[in-house]
Symmetry: C3
């Protein structure tokens, strides 16, 4: 296995080399030290070397700063004078945020070397674009269409007829069933299952009980451009209509998206969320961890669902809802506050009611 | 890789060809047009061609119907006169339901070509029945027993001594640990893990704290006939006794079933449900998405648990429970309604109590 | 494929042979019968043979005992005289517990035969210790460092530069991304994903909406010694700082651990728990099934969270909290009890309020 093949799996230590001056300009910070010092990576203070950029955002890390050997450090204004021998300081408000904002510019994903690994199996009639990279033991089905520059990790299995748009990346061990259509610049993490059969059965009486007869799934699973899908997430194909994930939407790990769901553009779906069949999630909605949305409802544009919310109805656009069953967040908070006051009042209320004659 | 090999991964575009007359008879509908028109697949109106069957169930899709090129369309009675040039209409109540009921007859799962892929590894002493199909890079352990007509997808790993009954199908990337016994006509979706170790430890004092010493798992994981298991679902083997999933039970994606659980026949277990150790789920029970059942309880025959219910006791047969902690559904609804009335009353109640002298 | 290769996947039928006398001594039980009878495995009464150890803990299993052919049975004192022909009885309080306690001594994990399977791919510069076993189709990245006696199951993918400590075991189909550092005696079950990218984006206005720009993840994912990780669990790498799972912590199936989380030593994290970014879980904490902990909070040392608890704040050390939003368990129970009393009181309260003039 060549170096380039495994580098594909590396989410990345290699990156651009930036000067301290360029960094200071990018974050709008004040440079203290030699602007020509160069850094190539990012690391926390205690692991940073002279080639690393780091940050100091809170006084409790002052000692780590003093001991650090980082090349360049983003430092909060109130900590600008912390003693230490780092080569260059850049004084900036909210250094961690500045660093995160900087990372996408600073960091360069490792280039995958184009080529089909000798052990990969490509089905008959499959069409692979320019610069495609296919890892060890990957299996690509008959008639699949793989766009330019796509990276397919080792052990991925791509069903017959699947389409994957240019510059998409599949990490190792992804399964894409037939019926999937995947856009451009899509990232799919390890173990995700795309276009598996939905959970649909017709009930039929049998032997004094009921029998569940499987409904074949012939709808597609359409993943639009710039979507990211987390590790071990499952997205079912539609029964007749399609399941669709809109452009720019980001999905975390272990999420379940059922058949015929339609998710809009630029949504954020956090870990372990479950979205039942035929739900619509409109553009820009945000579903926090472990939210559940029951079937056929709509989560409106830009709505926000707090962690663990249980949704059993439509959620109006732009609102924040929480709790079980989900309610407007303020209302849910008031109900919870009242609930926790209740036990101490209950005995007094009961006594009062007992003493008060009730007129019929 | 031959065409037939990859078709195995295709959940299916090929199917029987049916005439419009046969369809009308099957759904009990009224035929309008040429009964000899033939269709071979199912598609939504906007993607249907002359070889496709589609449906029109709601007025909002009338324009799609008018523009559609479908060969045959199931149409609701009130929409029977919608203009359009589709070759044949079949007028029927609830067209979508009719189509779903029809699909299992209409649709034929793609035939997997029997044979062991050249890259598959079969352990010593393993016995494979007639017509077995084993995909690329699958690994079958020593002494495994694989029944007639079983389809094992690419990248599956089957542990030593595992038994799989006739006509079962494993999609790509399933792991079956040793200790599993799988029945006939079982379908297991990609990434499911069957018979992994349960979560069991003995606590032992160590270094001022506690140490968790693993309990080896030697019970089996028994999956009976006609079970379907969703993508990335995990089912642990028993510690000493077995874990059992009863015949005809259907399990969705990302479900967790712990050691020693016993699930009855024809249950429906929806996505992200978690069932803790030694729980019993009796025949025909239905657990909706994200339900959690804590250890050692029983969910009675035909009981129904609403989405996200948290079960901390036994559930009587035939009842519907919901909420956290789960209560009979009507009682839970009343409690929730009262809770959301409470904040507006609370201030009035507090004032009333403050004004009322409490006799000791 | 040799017998030894597949035995690796066997969580174990082989074991030590123990005499009845040794067992009686180990559990502090009273031996009835021939102390030299030997057993080699554990099985429930109905499946036990003369080579098996079993147990009888409840009267409802008396008939199974009578019919059993087990070699040695642990029997509860009140059932010591149950008729039957098993060779040896050992009378002991809580026989099942005694058996579980015994299992780790009794049972020996199957020895994996050292060696690299012919189909495994090992990257350039990777260093493998003595006695390492690498299964079929495993892919080990460039520069990875694999300690003595490590067992890597078939179909595992190990990223470039990953370190795995001595005597660790990865079951088939585990993916370890670059950026992971795994300790000694760590067990990782099938389908777990270690060091995948965290869910982190910077929002940027775009086309009238918002665009989510990925934050590259360059922190590590550190798994300390003696950790066990369940099937299909996902643990993200840190964004800049590390994600850390402390020594001796045990993690069940389908758990999500987000970026920058720090979990202490000897914690128990049960199935489907979700831990959001930057949470700290201190030593010995116990999180039951489906618990969710929202970002940046701390779960104190030895704290215990009941199943499905939703945590939106810090949890004090040593306390048990439950419910949504999580509260001290006793307080949560009182609130729930009050809630379910409320509907019957509410009408009476409303009438009382209506009859009572409210002074301003």
């Amino acid at each position: 296995m060549s170096a380039s093949t495994t580098q594909r799996d590396d989410s990345g230590e290699s990156g651009l080399v930036l000067t301290a001056a360029a960094i200071a300009e990018a974050v709008g910070g004040r440079l203290v030290g030699d602007g020509m010092v160069r850094v190539a990576r990012v690391a926390p203070l205690d692991r940073a070397t002279g080639q690393d950029l780091s940050f100091l955002a809170a006084a409790k890390y002052a000692a780590a700063f003093t001991a650090s050997r980082a090349g360049v450090v983003l430092v909060a204004p109130e900590l600008a004078e912390t003693p230490g021998s780092v080569a260059v300081r850049i004084v900036v408000e909210r250094p961690q945020e500045a660093l995160l904002t900087l990372l996408p510019r600073f960091h360069r994903a490792p280039a995958a070397t184009p080529g089909i690994h000798a052990t990969a199996i490509v089905g008959s009639g499959a069409r692979l674009g320019a610069g495609v990279s296919v890892g060890a033991y990957a299996v690509i089905g008959d008639g699949a269409v793989i766009g330019d520059g796509v990276v397919i990790g080792s052990h991925c299995v791509i069903g017959a007829g699947v389409e994957i748009g240019a510059a998409s990346q599949l990490y190792p061990g992804v399964t894409v069933y037939s019926g999937a259509v995947i856009g451009r610049r899509v990232t799919i993490h390890s173990g995700a299952r795309i276009a598996s059969d939905g959970f649909g059965y017709v009930q039929r009486p049998a032997n004094g009980g009921v029998e569940h007869v499987k409904i074949p799934h012939v709808g597609r699973c359409v993943i639009e451009d710039d979507v990211e899908i987390g590790a071990n997430t499952t997205i079912d194909r539609g029964s007749i209509d399609d399941t669709v994930v809109g452009a720019g939407t980001k999905i975390d790990n272990l999420v379940q998206i059922a058949h015929n769901v339609r998710i809009g553009r630029a949504c954020l779906i956090m870990a372990q969320v479950g979205i039942a069949g035929s739900v619509r999630v409109e553009d820009g909605a945000m579903l926090l961890g472990q939210v559940g949305v029951s079937g056929h409802h709509t989560v409106g544009k830009g709505a926000r669902l707090a962690a663990q919310a249980g949704v059993f109805g439509d959620i109006p656009a732009g609102e924040t809802w929480s709790g079980y069953p989900a309610r407007p967040h303020k209302e849910a908070l008031r109900a919870q506050a009242a609930l926790f006051k209740l036990p101490s009042l209950l005995r007094r209320i009961e006594r009062l009611l007992d003493r008060t004659p009730e007129s019929e």
